[in-house]
Amino acid sequence: MADLTGAGGTAGATGTASAASTTGTAGVITYREAVAEGIARELRRDPSVVCLGEDIAAAGGVFKTTAGLLAEFGKERIWDTPISEQAILGMAMGAAMTGMRPVAEIMFSDFFACCFDYLANEIPKMRYMTGGQVTVPLVVRTANGGGLGFGAQHSQAVENWTLAVPGLKIAAPSTPADVVGLMAAAIRSDDPVVFFEHKGLFASKGPAAPDGHVVELGRAAVAREGSDVTLVALAVTVPLALAAAEQLAAEGISAEVIDLRCLVPLDMAAVLTSVGRTSRLLIVEENPYQGGWGGTVASIVADEGFELLDAPVRRVAAACVPLPFADALEQQVIPTLDTVTEAVRRLAAY
C-alpha cells in the first residue's frame, strides 16, 4: 500500500509529527492528528491500553493516524502486525478478555470482510453467550468511506455492516475534537467499540480538544440550529449537511443539522426532538440506501414521531452500486452538495 497521507487533500506535515506535539488546548489540529492525539492521551493515562495493526508503528499508519505513537510509547505498546486481519481482531479479543484494552486498526473498513467473523460472531457475542462472565473492552479503528478515488474495494462506507450486529457500539466522529473525545470514551468503554475514521476528513481542521475531553458514546450534537428541516448526518456527511445548510440559508431555508456521532447507542431522542421543531427530516448517509443506517432512523421516526411530521421522511444515501473509480462516476453514487440541497428544497416545499 502506498503512502496515503495525501488522501483527502493537503497532506500536511504530519508524517513526522509527534503525537505529543498536539496536546495544546488552544489552536487548530487536523482530524488525522486528532486520531493519534486521542489514542496517545489514553496510552498515557492507562497502561493497559495497547495498539496493534498493519503498519501502525514504524510507519505511523498508512494514513499517518498513528504517527508519533511508537516514538513516545515504544514497541511494548505499539505493535506492527502482519497482514492478518483475523489475527489482529482475534488477538485483540483475547487480550481484551484478559485485562488489556487493545486498540486494533483495520487499515480500510472494506477489510472488515476479511475478519467479519470476529465482528459478527465473536467480539459482540462473547459477553452475552457466557451469561456475562467476560468483558471485551476493545476498540476496532478503521478508515472508512469514499470520495478519494480508491475504487470499489477501498472506498466503501460500511458502518451499516456493523450496525447489523447486536453487541457492537459504533462511533463515527466528524470533527477533530470529537475524534479525541469519542476515542477517550471508546477506549475507556468496557464494551467493544467500532471506531470509524473517515478518509475524506483526515485533512480537515478544527479546534483542538481541551485536556481531559471525553464525549459520551451515544450523544448526538446539534451541529447547526435551524427551524425548517432537520438534516441527520454522520461523519463526512456532517460537513456536507452543514455546507448544504449554509447554501440553503441564502435561499431562506433554515436547516438544522444533527451530528449523530454514534450509531450505537443511537441518540433518537435528539433526532425526535429536532423533528419536533422542524417537522421535516432528511437523513444524509454515505452507506448504501439499501440496508443503510438511515433506514433504522427513518423507521423509528415513522413509528414514534409520525405526528411530528409534515412531510415524508427522505434519505440521501449512496446508490446501490459498487463504488466506481473515476471521480465523475463516484460523484454519481455518493451524496453530494447538489443532491443534498435539492432534497432539502423539495422537502421544504412539500
Binding site: S84, G90, G94, T98, M100, M129, D191
Partner: protein, 335 residues
Amino acid sequence: MTAVDPATSVVGAEELLGLYEQMAVIRRTEKAAHDLFLAGLVKGTTHLAAGHEAVAVGASAALRPDDYVFATYRGHHHAMARGATPEECLAELMSKSTGLCRAKGGSMHLTKASAGMLGSYAIVGAHLPMAAGAAWSARLRGTGQVAVAFFGDGATNIGAFHEALNLAAVWALPALFICENNLYMEYTPIGEVTAVAHPAADRAPAYGLPAEVIDGNDVVVVRDAVARAAERARGGRGPTILEALTYRHFGHSRTDPASYRPADEVEQWLSRDPLELARARLKASGVPDESVAAADSRAARRVEDAVAAAKAAPGPDPVDAFTDVWADGGSAWRT
C-alpha cells in the same frame, strides 16, 4: 490389556487415580448428555467428547490454575477439566438457569472464566488468535501465564489457524496449540482434505515452531507433553504445537451414528480407550482394583446427582434474554 508407553515420567499412584476419576466423571457426563439429548431434555445439538478425555485432563494437570484455556464446540471435557462441575454443564445443556452460562450459551459455548476457561467457540478456528491474544496479554502483564487453544483437526485448514500460528511465532508468545486429531473433520476423513499426513504438526515447520505428535489417549503422555510445552512457553521460547491422536466414541454431533467410520478402525480405537489405558497404568502402579472401582463409583454417583440436580433446576428468567449484551448488564442500544 492395553499397552502403555513406559518412556513416560513416573506418576504418583494417587495423582494418577485422581486423573482417572476426572476422566471417568467426564465420560459419564457425556453419556448422560447423550441420553438426555435422546430423551428430548437437551435441545439443539451436542458434540460429545467421550474418547477425548485424556487430552483435557492430561493438559489441565500440567497447567497452572491461572493459565488460560480456549476450546471448541466439542468442549465439555475442557470445561470440566478446568473445574466446571457436571451439574453446571448439564444444566447449561438442559437450558437451566443454573447452567454455566445461565442458559445463554448452550453445549457449544461452555465457559468458566473464573477458572481460566475462556470459552468454547463454534466457529472453527476462531479461537486460536484469541488464545494468542491472551498469551500476548500475559506477556505484556508479565504474569508468566500461558494460553492454550484446543482445536480439532478440521481447524487446521482454516485461515485463522495459520494467522495465529504465524503471529504467535513472530512474537514468541507463551501459547500452546493443541490439536485433538480424531481423524474426522466432521464426517469426512481429515486425510482426504489435507495436504499433509499430520494436519497440525506438519504445518509447524512453516512457522518455525516445534511440534510433537502424541498419544492423545494416554493421560500421562499428554500431561508430560503439555508440561514440556508450557515450560518452554513460560521460559520465553514461544509456542508449541501438539497433535494429540484420539478418537470420538460418539458421532460428530447429535445422533450421528458415525457409520462412515470403518468397523475395524472403530474397534482398534475403542481398544485404546483412554480410561482403559489409565486403568493399565494404575495396575502397573500397584493401585488395587478396589480403589479404581471406588473411583468409578464416586464418578457414577456424582454424575447421577448432577443429572438429578440439573433436571430439578429452574429454567431461565425470561428477562435474561435482555441482559449481558453490554458490560452494564443491559441491552439498551438507543435513546
